[in-house]
Symmetry: C2
Amino acid sequence: MKYRKIPDETIRRMPMYLRALSLVEQEGQQTISSRQLAERLHLKPPQIRKDLSYFGAFGTRGIGYPVVSTAQQIRTILRLDVPQKAALIGAGQLGTAIAAYPGFSVFGFDIAAVFDNDPAKIGKHIGRRVIEHIDAVDSLEDRAIRLAILAIPSEAAQACADRLVRAGVKGILNLAPCYLVVPKRVKVVSIDMAMALGVLPYYM
Amino acid sequence: MKYRKIPDETIRRMPMYLRALSLVEQEGQQTISSRQLAERLHLKPPQIRKDLSYFGAFGTRGIGYPVVSTAQQIRTILRLDVPQKAALIGAGQLGTAIAAYPGFSVFGFDIAAVFDNDPAKIGKHIGRRVIEHIDAVDSLEDRAIRLAILAIPSEAAQACADRLVRAGVKGILNLAPCYLVVPKRVKVVSIDMAMALGVLPYYM
């Protein structure tokens, strides 16, 4: 199924809708209105209706959106309808926290491999995974792992990203406080805790 | 000094400018053009010129922006010209990683207190700080700590946020994968690693 071009901002909100719908589904509710979704997500109902219309989901007035099928449509668009394997690069404190992070499973993500360059860590376990030497990232393509989470110091991040790109990685979640230069075909999303904290005093 | 109303999107980019300028300053460069800044930050030069103009920074054609004074202006606007104390709530794996996160110091943030509800953790150290019982958050106002970083499970996040608000906290960096309801006077910025990862497969 093909969808028309969806704005990045809408794509960015889609995982929010998916998680909210998953929760609603667990609660046993079969339909949800844009107003109810808006309350849960602190968004405006017209925004939600517009976003959902991009992928052909239209609520019925007075009834709302069917929870299960709308969630399934979002999963299909986001390609979260199949389990997604991700490699975790960095088995330090942040990497360890990420490996234990409960939020990934809602979206079907599986931390399928963990890498580090510290000889003392290689062979040890992090969750169910054995920590592999960073040189083994070259095997990611063969293992059909095309997502990577970078939880390493800034100084090492660019060289590691270059290597991941050569290993066929197509998407990188970067947690190092730095910018990564990658080819256009690779998508990078960066999370920077200091940047996020940095805006707060302005509003206080 | 008063500034005219600055859009949230511009404020969100300001810490990026500040960090880039801090790096440039360390490298010993005295001026930087919007083009050079754009290359470092993967932004468009006109956007940078527009953002910087909001707070009265104007580059000189062919010379650029003075690095030190522009950085100082941004610090003043963001209220990062004074050290900002933050409380860390949650001394689990994520909290421990945050306490060790090197990115905060660029912005003058100091994790001045750490709290947890696990009796086994109270009294132990995390970095230089002793972990305090969560009940002690009521003292935050007296200790002039008005920023908090929430690194606790989703189920506990809202109740904890309510308590922080009562203790006079004005800004919360929320790392739990959930939404927080707070009074308008309190600013919440949420970081959700699963949401960020969730958009990547769409682009692959």
